[in-house]
């Protein structure tokens, strides 16, 4: 049952990221790779929230993996990593939090609206932090290796 759920989630993550990459006009033959980065990111997020790691940390972890895969494909396909990480983070982007924020603000429950506003900002920063963290690790690793050789 859990396996089935995981399969469903990864399939949908793949579809949304690959579809979104086509909307952003990534060359069609590169779209499946963008889909894979989105799929892995979403599965990491799904599993880590189920393990109880919290929303922000799960987003950070997922973005970290997305950037890792994007950089890997960027090196192998010789094209910018942007082609893979922008569609990859699509399922993570805080659309839901933004929507609930407006909904509650319109309905007059300002306290709940503020709660979701802070949540949306936090998620955005967590995603960016995950991407940047992998970049930093990547650079540090290469500098270390260059010094040794």
């Amino acid at each position: 049952m859990i396996l089935l759920k995981l399969l469903e989630q990864s399939f949908l993550g793949f579809i949304s990221s690959a579809g979104f990459s086509i909307l952003l006009l990534v060359p069609i033959k590169l779209a499946p790779y963008a889909g894979v980065s989105g799929m892995v990111g979403w599965v990491v997020y799904f599993v880590s929230t189920k393990l109880g790691l919290g929303v922000y940390f799960s987003n950070l972890l997922a973005a970290f993996f997305i950037e890792a895969i994007s950089m890997y494909y960027a090196r192998h396909k010789k094209c910018p990593a942007t082609l893979f990480n922008i569609p990859g983070i699509v399922p993570l982007v805080p659309g839901a939090a933004t929507y609930y924020m407006t909904y509650h603000l319109v309905m007059g429950s300002y306290l709940k609206g503020m709660y979701f506003m802070i949540r949306a900002g936090g998620i955005a920063v967590a995603i960016a932090a995950g991407l940047i963290l992998y970049d930093a690790c990547h650079r540090f690793y290469f500098r270390l290796r260059a010094k040794k050789l």
């Binding site: 579809i15 990459s21 990534v26 983070i89 940047i132």
Partner: protein, 247 residues
């Protein structure tokens, strides 16, 4: 002299084309500096979302280009990246690079409208389920997402008002969802709306803005961040108006 002006022109055009199609600031500056550095001179570039400037350290020449409309077309970014790499590897010369980049920008890869709408519909449906909706609402959400995206494209083509496209698309999505909920087809209203507005949520601008801030491009980071806030607010206002009308 002839050479310098050709070099500066090429750098500026490459920067302009990359910026118009949604590349990050540090990638644009890096590419421009690398092309300028190939001839042995040191390039000094300054890039914000609206302007591209390039000068050479040892001459007095500065080339400037204005960037007015920015869209997202990552295939152009990829091609320009490939060509500039070919240039720095010495496979093509400066004149060829300029010609190729201009050609890419004139004959951009585009998708047919129907394909775009179809993909937006499928993406809306699958994102709705990913974010916690029910399978029974899948096809309704696809329909709503498709209609929303067609309204978005129509408004982009005929109204030509910046940021109004997102507003009108969100408004239609809100109205349609509430209508379907009222006649008893859709059940998870919240998730249906969230899934359908996902194609307009400015994820690209959001990450680019935070990336730019981290790389030290404060001006670009802040201005892109403001753009994100405006688009998010437009989506929000569109749905809010729909709610007010329907309730």
């Amino acid at each position: 002299m002839e050479n310098t002006s050709l070099l500066l022109e090429t750098c500026a055009v490459v920067g302009q084309v990359m910026l118009e199609n949604g590349a990050e600031m540090y990638r644009v500056e890096d590419t421009m500096n690398r092309i300028a550095g190939e001839t042995g001179s040191v390039g000094v570039s300054f890039v914000t979302p609206t302007i591209v400037m390039i000068g050479l350290e040892e001459t007095e020449h500065v080339k400037m280009k204005r960037v007015t409309d920015r869209t997202t077309n990552l295939s152009v970014v990829q091609l320009v990246n490939t060509y500039s790499r070919e240039y720095t590897e010495g496979k093509i010369n400066l004149g060829q690079l300029l010609k190729k980049v201009k050609e890419v920008n004139q004959h951009k890869m585009t998708l047919s409208t129907w394909l775009k709408i179809l993909i937006a519909a499928v993406v809306s449906g699958s994102l709705m389920i990913v974010l916690g909706g029910a399978w029974s609402d899948f096809f309704v959400t696809c329909f709503i997402g498709g209609v929303g995206y067609s309204v978005y494209l129509l408004s982009q083509r005929f109204l030509r008002l910046k940021y109004f496209d997102e507003f009108i698309a969100a408004f239609c999505i809100g109205l349609l969802t509430l209508f379907f909920a009222k006649i008893g087809i859709g059940h998870t209203t919240d998730h249906m709306i969230i899934g359908s507005i996902m194609p307009y949520v400015p994820g690209l601008a959001l990450t680019n803005s935070i990336r730019d801030l981290q790389q030290g491009h404060l001006l670009s980071g802040i201005s892109r961040g403001v753009e994100v806030i405006i688009i998010a607010a437009m989506l929000a206002i569109g749905i809010a108006v729909a709610f007010r009308l329907a309730l």
